[in-house]
């Protein structure tokens, strides 16, 4: 092996074991400067995944990644020529590499000797490997960033949930009826609902939990046959806060209905329906209507937890307008929630587009 071959061999070894993007670039830069010592090239390390790995502008030889069809033009400009020039030498790269091949151009009148073309071939492979290592390192860094973000987000959610749970417990105590058994039962129910909703929110991920799924999750947890209730409305994907609050509301209404309302009455009917209303401020209109309850509705003597959720929490957290009525025949609850406050940004965009298209 001559000196150049030796240094390339060392370089390839270095690239193969380069542990980071920086290391790969260092090796490639070193390789390029070795070649520069032969040909007087200088390396312009411009490398992006879809762009080129280029040697430019050297006095005689230019290299580029050949997938970019505009490159002959760019190279010509770098060489100070007005017309695009053709590629003079193309070195195919191995399949494991991100780039298919590297092309070299040289000035008219210049002819590299065999020794130099061999050198260029090795350099092409080295550049390919460097680019590959670079991309892998970037992907790895991106994964690490994603992981950190997920961890921070989970930590935040966990802390918030514990805080929420504690305040729900405190409020439940404050609003409880004297019976300790009843209090424990309500609390267990609420903790269960919060847990179910959180699990569903996590499973849905960034797409957002669908409102229907949220409602059905709560109803299925009662183990009642599905014929006992009707659930209908369009797909509405919820932000986690919106899902969390609505999940609790559905739970409280369900519990109440199981105890006093349509889900307890043999001929009772429950219909939960929603739509996105087309006003200037688009909103989710959700209604819970019980019917067929023959026993006169019991109007609670004082505001309970569920009532507070509907009449205070929803307006506070989501800017909702709500109406809860204990009427003969069953409970009726109407909720109008600005879509902006409860739906995911993507969902909001879809509804805005529909609205704009329909107008």
């Amino acid at each position: 092996m001559n000196h150049t071959e030796q240094s390339f061999a060392a370089m390839l070894e270095g690239l193969a074991s380069a542990a980071s993007r920086e290391a790969a670039i260092r090796v490639a830069t070193h390789a390029a400067s070795s070649l520069a010592a032969i040909d007087g090239l200088c390396l312009c390390a411009r490398a992006a995944q879809t762009s080129m790995v280029a040697l430019a502008p050297g006095p005689q030889i230019y290299a580029c990644e050949t997938l970019d069809t505009n490159l002959p033009r760019l190279v010509a400009r770098a060489m100070g020529q007005s017309r695009p020039i053709g590629m003079t030498m193309v070195v195919p790269l191995s399949e494991s590499c991100d780039y298919r091949s590297v092309g070299f151009f040289w000035q008219p009148g210049y002819t590299p000797d065999r020794h130099r073309t061999e050198g260029l071939e090795v350099l092409a492979q080295a550049l390919g490997l460097a680019a590959c290592a670079w991309r892998q390192a970037e992907e790895h860094e991106q994964q690490l960033r994603d992981q950190r973000r997920t961890f921070t987000e989970l930590q935040h959610r966990l802390r918030n949930n514990v805080a929420l749970l504690r305040s729900v417990v405190r409020r439940s105590i404050e609003l409880a009826n004297p019976s300790a058994d009843e209090f424990a039962m309500h609390l267990e129910g609420r903790i269960g609902a919060l847990t179910r909703t959180q699990a569903a929110i996590t499973a849905a991920g960034s797409a957002g939990l669908d409102l229907e799924e949220l409602i059905r999750t709560e109803l299925i947890a009662t183990a009642l046959p599905e014929q006992r209730y009707l659930v209908r409305g369009p797909i509405v994907r919820l932000q986690s806060k919106g899902a969390e609050s609505l999940g609790l509301v559905i739970h409280e209404l369900t519990t109440n209905s199981l105890k006093f309302g349509a889900l307890a009455a043999p001929r009772g009917r429950l219909e939960i329906a929603w739509d996105v209303t087309d006003s200037i401020l688009q909103s989710l209109h959700l209604s819970w209507v019980e019917s067929g309850v023959t026993v006169a509705a019991v109007v609670p003597r004082r505001r309970g937890f569920g009532q507070e959720l509907i009449e205070c929490t929803l307006p506070y957290e989501l800017g909702a307008r709500t109406r809860l009525a204990f009427s003969p025949g069953g409970v009726k609850c109407e909720m109008e929630i600005p879509l902006e406050a409860c739906a995911t940004p993507a969902e909001l965009a879809v509804h805005r587009a529909v609205r704009a298209g329909g107008a």
Binding site: T152, Q155, H156, R157, L158, R159, N160, V162, A163, L164, R166, S167, V168, R170, R171, Q239, K241, C312, T313, Y316, E317, A341
Partner: protein
């Protein structure tokens, strides 16, 4: 129940702004502060309401949730501090989320210890930094 280890009415005469987007947590904070004798402003549920309160009310201390419905509420903290009003963060995030210029703000992690909150307000308003709380916030 709250503030037993804090002096009764320890926050008497102090006007405390509470910014918190979660209803039940807001109610909990407010009633703890009232029990300790504070006059509670708010609770403000979002950035706009919180910012509006800064200009229209006399405030002795701000108790601020960092994340308000996905928006980071640092603007309110900056606004309060520009007026020389002490600020306390209640947050589920760790210290790395806090911008450097607000790094010295007392930070209480959720779920917030309500006694510690009252103590932090008391100490912020008397001008001295609580060494024990600093130890808690940097852990």
């Amino acid at each position: 129940m709250v503030g037993r280890s804090v002096q009764e009415r320890a926050l008497h005469g102090l006007r405390v702004l509470v910014v918190e987007d979660d209803y039940f947590i807001a109610i909990e904070l407010c009633s703890a502060l009232r029990a300790a004798g504070a006059e509670v402003l708010g609770p403000a549920r979002d950035l706009e309401t919180g910012l509006a309160a800064i200009d229209s009310e006399h405030i002795d201390c701000g108790v601020l949730d960092v994340n308000l419905r996905g928006h980071l509420g640092f603007q309110i903290a900056t606004g309060l501090r520009a007026r020389g009003i002490p600020v306390i963060f209640t947050t589920g995030y760790d210290a790395s989320m806090i911008p450097p210029e607000l790094a010295d703000v007392v930070r209480l992690e959720k779920p917030v210890d309500l006694t510690a909150l009252c103590r932090a307000i008391q100490q912020s308003c008397s001008g001295s930094r609580p060494p024990r709380l600093r130890a808690v916030t940097t852990s």
